[in-house]
Amino acid sequence: MAELEAVIGLEIHVQLSTKTKMFCGCSPSFGDEPNVHTCPVCLAHPGVLPVPNEEAIGYALKIAAALECEVAPRSIFHRKNYFYPDNPKAYQISQYDVPIAGAGRLGGVRIHRAHLEEDAAKMIHLGGSGRIHGSGASMVDFNRGGTPLVEIVTEPDLRSAAEAAAWARLLRTTVRQLDVSDVNMEEGSLRVDANVSVRPAGSEALGTKTELKNMNSFRFLERGIEAELARQRELIGAGGTVVQETLHFHPEDGSLTPLRSKEEAHDYRYFPEPDLVPLAPTEAMLREARESLPELPEARMLRYREEMGLPEDVSAQLAADPETADYFERVAQAGIGVEFRVVANWVTGELTAAQRQEDPNVGVSDSKATPEALAALVAMVHEKKISHGSGKTVLATLVAEGGDPAAIVEREGLAQISDSGELESIVAAAVDSNPEAAEQVRAGNGKAIGAIVGAVMKETKGRADGGEVNHLIREQLGL
């Protein structure tokens, strides 16, 4: 049997961080006391009508622009009818056959569509498994009900669990830079469901898919897809067939169980929402969405690689972390004449490590070591005014206290030993006091030189240039 290829598409719900809900004036909230952000509209009292949130439409247009989607000139809201206590109107206002955003792309994955809708209220099931089935009672918190959502649907272009998780991270970084959502998976402001199927490699036809829900971290997303792919491959390998169903991911043990549907029969009886007129964005709204876009991760990665000559992995790492990338650019722009790749290594390597050691809760962009200070420090190392080792010592002080690196070098006496006579005599003493190592180096064991270098560094308190020390030792040993 041919190898079974994974075919994965994602459905992403992005909760928008607007000031008010999608169709009423209540503020959306996370973590407040239950049922305090409610009004007759979001509780579906008799006689109320929805009024679309202009800010949410603007946010959706920004997402559409970032994903290079075609925007519908007149998109339509529909009613999706179903009975459930999280849905007080008994219909959700969503978009159906004419969504605000059509085909687009991001990171090599095609976007099928993106549409606006309202979030359901939050259900809390008491007793049993924590799900409605088997619970003793259920409570509803309407604070979340009616929060604006943009649902993004991809084409089934992803070919592995790791690829799906990596792409979801790219999407999160992209949306985060638009400043339209907190995109926090743990808090549910970013929810990623996966449609998973397999097919014989080389086949164009799509296999029967299952839908995976409740993976509230990128790690769980990857694990859930892995588990489902394994299940489907095993099932088909044993001669079985995949049944189309929705599966609930359990983070405790990584298992998947079929989810009971919200209604026994799945007929949402969609029809155009008569309380709303078609959504027709003006040219000005479209222009504003386009012009408000910051440089997005994909473009930034390309620029770092092509224009600044950074290695692929460092480019990707920086592009996925816009704040650190902005910090890097400020150091790079300080005009210290150091290669960008060296500067990038300092930021993603030494600075990141030093900051994590000092306080892991503070990001590089908020470090007490300012970009200007780091630039001055990197310049000093580059010009061999201090050794690389001393540079790291100064950096530790910078992230702890801030300040001017030159002053720290002065204060700590870290200036590199520039008198070659002084260094030569220290080297000679070190060779003499390590005769075994000296013999091994002479015999061709290059690694043994470390002991002699260590002795020199100890004596100079790290103020010697490592390359120079190596050179002098080998000279003295006649190599």
Partner: protein
Amino acid sequence: MGELLELSVAEAAERIAAGELSRDEYFEAWQDAAAGDELNAYLWRAEDGSGDDDGPLAGIPVAVKDLFCTEGVETTAGSRILEGHRPLYTATAVRRLGGAGARMLGKTNMDEFAMGSSNENSAYGPVRNPWDRERVPGGSSGGSAAAVGGGLAPCAIGTDTGGSIRQPAALCGIVGLKPTYGAISRYGMIAFASSLDQCGPLARNVTDAALLLDALQGRDPCDSTSVGIKGGIEAPSREDLKGLRFAAPVELAHDAIEPGVRAVFEATLARIEELGGEVAEAPLPHAEHGISAYYVIAPAEASSNLARYDGVRYGMRSGDGGDLIEMYETTRAEGFGEEVKRRIMLGTYALSSGYYEAYYGRAQKVRTKIAEDFAAAFAEFDFVVTPTSPSVAFRLGEKTDDPLAMYMNDFFTVPMSLAGIPAISIPAGLAEPDGGGPRLPVGFQIAAPAFAEQRLLEAAYALEQGIGFYSKSKGGDDG
């Protein structure tokens, strides 16, 4: 005091403005009249009516159909399921009346959720026709029409989805206006069929209807589909119909109309010509399919609008000893009346997957065709005229076992609702019902292009003066 009640609203408002009449005295006179309700027209009457608001309607009592939400005042929509429901807010239309100085005299009885043409579908008992208490007042705004026709209110507001203002106005011998869809806010008006529902005035003469319409109309930020009437509405003053062209649709004028109604209709056409107007037959080829389309679209929207009455958040709850589904089912089984259930079933079916195109989709196409028919007619004519109802008021119980016969009451009024255009019913004379008996009022319907309310009211006013019906006292059959 009897003299006070004889004043038209316009006259009373003028006297109040001139300081010749006390607002409280006028209001109290009507409170006393309303207290003598023997028609079951009111579900609630104001006990305290004092106020000092200024405005064009200062001190004018208005009866309000119980479909409008009124803060703190029970609002049932004529349904058991909303018994005891006290809204947290007041409908925009009612607030606008209050803003113009008017005072709410009471809440009027109606067919449950505005579904009906006889007021026999109220959970709170049928309303009686002021002209003959064994007969129906029409519906669904039967309480409002009976109150005005029966001398229990000087004017009222109702709602019209397929004829629910015009038909009861015709059957009770008063003026009823359904404005253009979007002229008056629907916010706070409990929804029956959202794409058709429209608030409008019921009054004893055209001038009073105009006065109310001016106060009611306007764009409301709470209703995305509201636009208001540009320039507002002025008191009509036209005395003739010279140069105006009236189309009598070939298809509508020759259907099953009671001979008495037909005679009054034809006499009214002759009256139009006497006043200088021109009458000709015009085709409205799709209007006869209006009823079929209407009884798909309206129930479809109703099935969704009424899904929120589930016993969870407000109104009646029953069966909460069982599980969630049992509570939904028992509450709705006990809370809704037969006609409401029939329409929910019809509408749910029409929207179901696999049937949507055949029913809802096709009905919407018919709706478009009817709107095009009217557009074509208005290219040549100023107005389209029909009898308002095929018959005069029928006996209580006469049609309750035959829903289709009941639905035919809307035959002449539904096409205008589907087209979203304004239409007014004015009393045109009296006719003997089929089977004999004292003569009863006959309504004459005039329809105009969208937002041409001012022109419509001018023509209706001129014709009203020509007919002189208002000068006939209630029930006074002077031959």
